[in-house]
Structures are given as C-alpha cells and as structure tokens.
Symmetry: D3
Subunit: 257 residues, 6 copies
C-alpha cells in the first residue's frame, strides 16, 4: 500500500504525549493508587525495600510500558499492569490466608521494575544492551541487595526476607525456559507468576476481541501460543447489559459469604 | 518395617466416614453453597444445563474427591475445589468486566463433573475403564448435549451457547499435551484454566508446607513439576498473627477502592 | 507476477462441479462401496451406530474433503480417504486375527465424520467456529451417544461397545499433542491411527512426486515434518511396467500363502 | 519371594532349545518363506544385494531375536518380525501401486539384519560393543556397499539403487531422535517405517492383553509410550468365534473388489 | 548385603581430612596457581572485581567441591575445576585472538564462586536454602555489583565492563532450560560455557572409565544424558606408553607452528 | 532495492577463483599443514585409514566449503575448519592426557570428509541427492570399512580400532536429534563434538561482530539458536592492542606451567 501525502499541517505547541496511547488511568491517579498500596503494607523488610526501589525510579515506573509489544505496550503500561496484578492478588488473598501479603505485594511491585532499564523509553521502546545481556529479572534481583543496604536491612536477621524477595523476582516467569533461573518454590511466588500470566493474557485476549467482528476469530497471537481468539456473537452487549443490571450484586449472593 | 499386632478392638456401630479425611466444609454446607451459586446465575442456557447436570449427580458431586492423589484427594474434594474456583472467579471478575459470568460459572461447575464417572468411589478411588478410555473431559462434553435436549436448549438459537460451554469443558486443561483436545480460545476458558491451576497448586503447596519444618524444603512433588516447596521460618505464626491483627482490613485501604 | 486478462468467455450452463478436482472414484461408485462395507459388518452395536450416523450425513460424507489442505483436499476426499483406510485395514486383518473387525471398521468410518461439521463446504472449505472451538474429534464422540439412543443401544449391556467406539474416535490422532484427549489403548485404535497416517502420508508423498522431476527433491512439506520428498530417476515408468507385467501375481508366490 | 528347592532331576540328552520360547513358525518353515520371498523379487540390484547379505548370515537371521526385550524377543523373532512386515507390505501394495515392491522388500529384509551383530546371541541376548558404538542401522548400511562390490553392482549405473537401498535402512526408525540419521524421503521408506511400527506395536499389545483379565488394563508398557492396554470383556472369545464363522469371507464382500 | 562388624578400633588424633577424597593438587599449590592467574590479568575492571571477590572467600574457593555429585565432587574440586578451565581457555586463546582474555578469565574464575554459598560445606555438601531459592548464578551476579562499589568501578565509564562480566556469569549454563536467565551473546561467554562443559564431561567420562574393565561399558550416567561410557581394550596402557614415548613432542610437529 | 547497470566491463583472462571468498590460508599452505598433521600421527590403523581416505579426495578436501551457509562457507572452508579443530585438540590434549591422540586426530580429519560428496562443488554448493538421502555421516562411516580393506586393516585384530573410528564419525553431531545415530560414548568422541561446536560457533560469532557496529547487536543467527551477538564498544581495538603488547607472553605466567 502506498499513501501520497498532499498536505501537512504543523500543530504548534502540541505535546506528543497527548497523541499517544496511554493506560486507562492517568499518571496522577496511578501515583495515588501506588502510594496507597505501599502504605497498606506492614512495616518491615518487604515494605522498606519496595518503597526504596520504587521511589528511586517512580517517574519511570509510572510512564514505562510493560513490554515493547504483546501486552500493556503503551505509556503507563508497566504501572497499570502492576496495579492490576495487585488488585487481583488482594481479591484472591482471602481464599488462601496462609499467604504472606507483604511478600506477595513486594514481589508484584518489584517483579518488572527492571523493565525501566531493560526498555529504552516510555514510547517506541527498544531493548537496551543491558536488557538483552543481563535482563530485567537479574537487574531487579541485584537492586534488592542494594536497597537492603540503604534501608538498614542488610543484616543476618533479615537474610531470609531478602532471600525470599529475590526469589519472588527471580522465579516470576514460572519456568526456566521462560528465563527464570529458578522455579517458584513458595506459594507467594507461584501466585505472583499466575496473576502475571492472568493479567497479561486477559489484556491480549481483550485486545484481539476488540478488533474482531462478533462470531469470528481474530488472527493468531504469537504470545498466546499462536492461538486465535473467538469473539462470541453476544460478546460486549450482553456483558455490558449484565453489568448495568446489577449482575454484580447477584454475585454477592453467589460465592461471597 | 514390620509391625506385630498384639491386640485389636472392634469399635461397634462405627461409621467409616467418621474416620476419613474430608473437605473443610461438611456436605450440607457445601450443598447450600452450591445452591446459592446456581441461583446467582442469570436464567438461560448456561444455568439450565448446569442445574440439570449437577442435579443428576448431586450426591456424587458432593462426596467425590477431585483426584486420586495430588490435590483435593479426599471425600468432598471435588465440590470443595469447584466451589473454591468459583470464589476465585467471583473475586477476579470485577477486574475483567468483559467476561461473561454465567459462562464462566457454568464452566467451573461442570469442568470436572465427569470425575464422578472417571473415578470409582468417594474413597480409595481408582480410575474406571471409561475414565481411562474416554476421560472426564470428553464425558462431560457429551453430557452437555444430552442436558441441552432435556432442558429445551437443543435448538439452533442456543447453538453458540452450547458450543461455548462445551469449549469451556474441553479446553480446561489448557494445553493439548495435558489432555485438552483444544486450547482455550475465549477469555472465560482461559480464566477457568488458570483458576483451576491456581487452586490445585495452592492446595499442593500448602499441603507440602504443613508437613515440613520451618526453614526447610519438603520432598519433590511430581504434580508441581517436581519442585520442592520451601517453608519459610516465620510461616504460619506470622501469617496467623497478621490475620488476627486486622491485616485484611488494611487490604481495603490498599488496592480495593 | 501479474497477468493481464484480455478476453473472457462465459460458458453457458456450466456446472462448477465439472471443473473442480475430485476423488479418483465418482460419487455413485463410492456410495456403493460404502454400502457394501456397511453390509459386511456383523450385526450389532458397531454396525447400527455407524449406519445411523453415516445415513444422517451421507451426502456430506460423500462430497466433503478430508482436510482444507495437506491431503485429500478435494471434493469427495473424505469418503475416498475413509474407504482407502478400510481397504488397508481389511488387507492387514488376516495378519492380526485378534483384532475385532467390526470395531475397527466402525472406527474407520466414523473417525473423521465430524469433518462434515468442522469444515464449511465440499469446496473452498474453511474451519467453522464449532470446528475450531470443539473439533471434529469431540463432535463425533458426542454423536455416538446420540446414535446409541436412536438405535436402542443406550443400555448397560452395550456400554462397553459404546465406550470402545468412542475411544476409537477420540484416540485416532495417536498422541495428546496432536489433539487426541486419550492415547490408543486397544490394538484396534492403534491400527486405526496407523492406517490413517499411512494413507495420508502416501497421498502427500505421491502428490509431491507428481510435481517433481525425476532425480530431484520437491519442496519441504509442512505436514510431513517439513521433509522434502525425492523422486527417483526411474520412478513411474518402472512401477508402471512392473504393474503391467504381472508383478502382483508374483506377489502371490511371495508372502501370501 | 523365596523358593526352597527340595529335589532336582537332571534331564539327560535335553536340548535347551526345546525349552525356550520360539517364533510361531519353526526354522525350516521360516527358511522356506524367506526363500520364496527372495524369489518373488525382480532380478536386479535390490534382489542381488539382499540375497547376498541374507545368505551371509542366514542362520543368525533365522534364530536371532528382534530385540532384547519389548517385542519379538525370542528365538527366531527377527525372522518372524521381518516376514510379518513383508506380508503386511504385500497386503498394502495394491493400494499404493506407485511403490517399488523390490525396493520395499529389500528394505524390509535388510532393515534389522544388523541386529545379528548388534545383539550377542539368539537367547539371553545383550548389546555388543559394536551394537552400542555403531548400531545396527549404520552396520547394515555399510554392508550394502560391500555386497554391491561382491554382486557386481558397484558401478555408476547402479548408484541410485544402492543409495535408495541405504536410505531405506538408514531412515527406518522414522525420526532422528529414534536414531535414524535421516528421515524417510521416499514413500517406500515411509512404508517400511510404518509397517515396522505396526508389527512391533501389535505384538506388544497382544502380549499385554494375553496377560490381562478381560475388562482390565495391563501394566504400563514403556515401549508403548508408557500406555496401559485394555483387554475388552469380549476379547478373544468373540474374535475367535467370528474367525470360525466365516467372518473373513464376509470381508471379501466388503472392501475387496 | 549385610555386614557384621566384630571389632572396631579408634584411631587417636586422626584428622578426618586425611581420609577424604581431594583434588589432584594440594591447597597450597592451587593457591599459588590462583595467585599467578590473577596476576596474569591486565589491570582493570575485570581483574579488580575478580581479585576482590576471590579474596573475600578464598579459603572456601580452595576447599569447596564443584558439585554435590556428578563431577569434581571432592574437597578442592571447585578450585581444581576452575583452574583447569583457565588452562583450557589459555590453550585455546591463540586460535581465537579476537577474544578478550581478561573478560574470559574473570568469567571463569567467578562463574561458580556462588557455589561457596549454594553448597553448605567442603564435605558432605548439601544445597543451602539460598542455593535453592536464589542459586549460585544470581548470587554471583549480585556480588559483582557489590565488588564494583568496593573497587571504585561503580561509575558510568565502567558500566559496559560490569555488564559484560555479569553476562558471563549469568549465561554460563548455556541455555535457559539449564538455569541461565540469558544465553551467551558474546564469544567469551560461549567459550566459558563450552570449556565448563568440556572439563566437567572429561571428568565424568574418566571417572566412569576408571571403574570399568577394558572392553566394557560403565553404568548409565545421568549427568551425561544417561549415556554409558565405553572403555576401549587398550585404554590406559596405550595412552601411558604413548605419553612416555615422546608422543607429545611429535604434537609440536603436528598442528603447532 | 533496484540497481540500474549503466556500464559493464569484461575482464579478460580473469580466473573466477581470484574473486571468491577463501580460507585465511591458501591451498598450498593448508596442504603442507595437512601433511604435517598426518605425519604427526603414530603408525597404525588410525593413521593408515585416515591417510588413505584423505589422499583419495585430497583436492576436494582442500577446496570444499564446510557448509552451504552458517560457517566456513567459502572455498577451502572444510580444510580450514578441520585444521583449526586439530589445533584446538592439540592445545587441549595436555590437560586430558588419557585421551588417545591418534584416534582423536583421525576423527577430526575424517568427521566431515563426507561433505565432499554431500555438497556439490567448492563454490555455490548445494546438497546432492546422496547428501540428503544418506548424509555425510553415514557416507564417511562406510568409507572407513573400504579403507580398512585397502590398507590391510580389515582383520579381527583391528576390529576395535575400526569400530572406534566409525564411532567418532557417527557420533560427532553430539545428539540424535542433530543427526548422529549414536551419542558419543568415549571421551575422544565427546572432545571431537565439542571442538567442532567451538570452532563453528567462534566463526559465526566473529562473522556477526565484524558486521556490527560497536555497542550494538547483530541480527538473529539461526544456527546459533537464534541468538543476537553483541559487539562490545572496545571490541577489536583493545584485543589487537593487547595482542601487540605481549599479552600472550603474560599468559605463560598464568596457567601454563
């Protein structure tokens, strides 16, 4: 396909960020959500290290994408994906009360923080040399030790907490062949890996369905194991209608005591 | 090891069910939870077929195990696992409002119903011939068509709903090599597969940790990709303490608006 | 490559079916072969269910292709491939007399019958939504139970026959990763899977050789594990000559009694 | 388990071969079948090389097992398995008349001939050093060139026939990971590989069923991808009855013209 | 097998280290080799960080095993394996002069240093909790950043060197499925991975042959992809004889200019 | 991209070989290196067979490429790659003195000799029919037996040497899925496989870096498991400088006694 441009206008004083695709929430909103989430954690090793590292790169965390393509590949995508995972985790925690919420939330907040160095910019992101040669998983694991020194948690008594936090980050891709040097060996790490998958796949499936006519399949999606996604005939309308009609209230009478 | 039995007492009037391992909730409680869940679904194809099939084998559904070993391998395990998955789904639905709750709940309730034929009994279960040669996935998919006839949903106007419901059941193992003849191609099917994994793995990890001393690893668990699970030093006490101290209230100030 | 069309004639009264690629035998001939094959089965569950299902969709069975591409992808391909497999099975049965011919023939006749719903049309076939979301294997397995009801074989005494017939259909892809939810566990199912492979591969190899010059390799064939097929220098002439010169008679003096 | 032997008799003049498990046909019978098969081949490179190599080790060919375990692991197993494959090939050839029978029969007769060097003896066979370090596939391929010299077929005009015959032997395990250095690239090689699999698997399935009660599954069989084999309730009786009652005659009215 | 101990002597003043299996060179010798190797590196980031980290845990480096089983699983095995790899690298460097020797030697010296924390002790070593949950690869990568701070190489101008050194350590298992989070992407990293494999496999093969009679195969070795190793009939004697008779001098006239 | 050629000159008396890419050493030099290497081997089976086979196709050995693409894909590439491997082996032999140098050198010299029949020509090479259907591995293994006859080593007393030499050639791809019918089972075969990989990968990495700007990654290389290769900022200059400044002398003080 060829386009012939016959005329071009320059828009004076335009800010390019007004034209790019962004996360569903604006930066200030996500900033407040982030603060509230950090405050909700119990004082201790997990919260201190997480706050230290987030504060060091808060602006990048709020503007970076979560990936160059595949999912949440827009300005603010990293923060939105991370905050969605935190919501999912909080929704599931009452079902599995033996999980340590502080460890899980610290793992969720830090798991992809290294992407701010692995990818080059909030827009049109590319992999940096360090992103390819070291990778965001190992970068973040290294930062945890640095933050432990800064926050006074480098001692022997905090060794297990540091070790578990590093384990959360290192194992979050779930399998060795996906780039995690260790598999999840505590339930918090398994939960982190699963809600990461869940949120990324729901994003990709929704995105495919939005571009597909009802009753048809979208194109094969490489990051979804090459699957095609089907958009049911009644998708969208029905769901919206149900949402408007108090469907969620009915939920309360369902599985929630 | 050899044991020499020197004396045996007969316990008169004993019911063997009093001595076996059971689900955390008793059968009546699970029965009520099940009824409430079915009532919470919108009227239509999904609810009618699900109610029909559950009612046909309600007693077995409430007493069967979810597996012969691995996870929820106790009396009532199938119902408990299913109800836990429904709770997890309801917890996650607000995050992904484009999902069709009725389809998802129908899929969850039916996905392992075929186990009541695949396994031989509520206790000391073995695989039946049909369980090996046909499998619970294909059995349940077949029942859906039978139930559609019984409930008056065998017509052309309900074809897509029947097809999607069968797809939920057929794809719930997530991958072909795990015995699903098709991969999940709608987000409800992906969600079903993920909460199934989540609940089964949390069960197996918790079970391993309960049998492991703090600061140690349990034995390799085949159904967890041969992983060993680590029990942190503070596991249990800390979690309990946190739960007692209003930790969950603090959650509300975290990710939940 | 560009073609410039300078002139077009309309052929009046032309039937498009006269111009498409078709099976080596015409529809009437295949219809008679099919009838004779069904009659050759012993009376019982296998024959009754097979006759019922074939009769329900006999026209589609005789005109549908066996696949959208790869092998027997022409009008009548499904029937031709199925009848070839039946011939192969009858040729091999004397060698393995412990096989149940009725079960094997029923499995062969039904194994791909679901393709008449999985694919959209006898020509220019595409996968239907049900073809993708349910698949021909699970569709056909479901039909067997329906046919059992219609033919009076839904009772307990015929349960094993129904179960084995479903097993034949479900396992015919041979491996889980090829979309069969169970592997073949009876020799009839293994035989079905092998003659299916045999007939499809012989077709694809012959097709490649027909388009290749003697002494050369054809292009890589994806459905043959990406192999290139070699056409020997003497291929064709020699084989024809041998066939003309009573080669087959000589066979009789060879391995046949 | 412990056995206490109280009494032992020596059987004078006993030949151990009278007590061991043997092929269904005796050595003389198989010798005659082999001769007839070789005579049935057209004169030429394939027959000359095959006759040369078989004659060199005819006694071993008639007494060796086909494997140390798994299938045809008895005295005469190699010849019986080979002759069965030849029968299967002759049964299938009329369906695929473009196949070169001489090449196919030569490949079948030679494919496992190297086992006579790979395995140490007709009974209680072990792998020889050469069997492990070189393997029967490469051994036999090498012998073909030697036989070509002896039979006057080492010239340029017979190069393609030698090459194809070696290809038959080299590719007969079907896949690289099964030890074939090349995959089958001509239909004769594919057919060889498939009838080899077919005959070996029918043997193993029959063997498992013979040791299993009707209505039950046998133990997992490693060489059958760890499958359990099911013995149907009516297996054996029914099949025998059918065979007695002219079932095969009915076949003629089925697929055979 | 049962042993009945009839008499036990206590050996007074015995040092257990005198009875355990040790590296071919004693600790002082290896210590000197290590010093000389460090001195041979050019001054700079690589040498400074390597010296810093080795000095921090020099005693452990000289006494730890390289693994709990498989290869170099004796007191001093880690140092011996590392020094052998350095020798192999120096032998190969003249062939590939574009390789950076300092980076390669630093990578070799550090690649398994984390084993001193991953394994619990020089003898009867077990995996520590950190060894399982974090792993020696990620531990060592983290230490490099700490050493960079201590040696004044934490600045921007040394960033590439630090990054490459971490890449060496992270990628040295060669493949993701072997626990490296990234694959080797510079030739020095590929060389490190290959000489690591080479030295480990030569050890395991030699060890198997030492326990095998000439002309026989040893048992299957899991860490060698389950291979059996063959000991040639002339192995040992011939090799020794050749070594005595100036075989190596003849080498010089061979490939070495 | 389109090029428009406006003018063409014919170069009279030009030899096309002057314009093609060639090995770093000219043919005469490689010929002398080859002679010296053969002379360095001890008299015996290995040397006699190797000399016989090399002499039979010496010209092709000195001009053929090592592959059609990937590595050493230029005139003389086969000899250059082979001679580099021999140098690498000689460099490593002092570290592993239990290796039989004659067997190793024979294996190296012969391992890819079959490429002179597998590929069609020194330039613009394509796979021959025999190259695809038989492959260079099996071709060379067959030639060893022929050479044994010619050199008087076909007797029983040389059987083990012949067998081991064939094993070297057959196993040199290291794994079944790479086309070796057996895995290396002696350390010489493992060493051959490793130095083959080493030399090929160093070639491909160097080639990629030569075409890449410092501080950047090259394109994905299929034969390097799809990796991108990074060219460090200081690559080239630094290495050259180090080489000029007696870096290698410093080596001697390092690992070499």
């Amino acid at each position: 396909m060829q386009l012939r441009v016959r005329h071009l206008d320059v828009v004076p004083d335009a800010d390019i960020l007004e034209f790019v695709r962004e996360a569903p929430a604006d930066r200030d909103t996500m900033d407040r959500m982030l603060s509230r989430l950090l405050e909700s954690m119990n004082p201790g090793v997990c919260r201190d290290i997480t706050c230290d590292l987030i504060d060091q790169r808060r602006k990048a965390f709020l503007t970076w994408p979560a990936a160059t393509k595949n999912h949440h590949n827009y300005v603010g995508g990293l923060a939105w994906h991370t905050l969605s995972m935190a919501k999912a985790a909080d929704a599931l925690l009452p079902l599995y009360p033996f999980l340590d919420r502080d460890l899980l939330m610290a793992g969720i907040l830090l798991h992809d923080l290294g992407k701010t160095e692995e990818l080059s910019a909030p827009m049109l992101a590319e992999y940096t040399s360090e992103g390819n040669l070291v990778g965001h998983i190992s970068m973040t694991a290294g930062w945890i030790d640095e933050a432990a020194v800064r926050t006074g948690h480098a001692g022997e008594e905090d060794k297990e907490q540091r070790m578990l936090l590093k384990h959360m980050v290192l194992s979050h891709h779930g399998k060795l062949e996906f780039g995690s040097p260790v598999m999840p060996m505590i339930p918090e790490a398994e939960m982190l890996s699963l809600v990461d998958d869940l949120d990324a796949r729901m994003f990709m499936m929704k995105q495919s369905m939005d571009a597909t006519a009802p009753g048809h399949f979208g194109p094969r999606v490489f990051a979804l194991d090459n699957r095609m996604i089907y958009r049911p005939t009644q998708f969208g309308e029905q769901a919206s209608a149900a949402a408007d009609n108090g469907k969620e209230k009915r939920n309360d009478g369902g599985t929630q005591a």
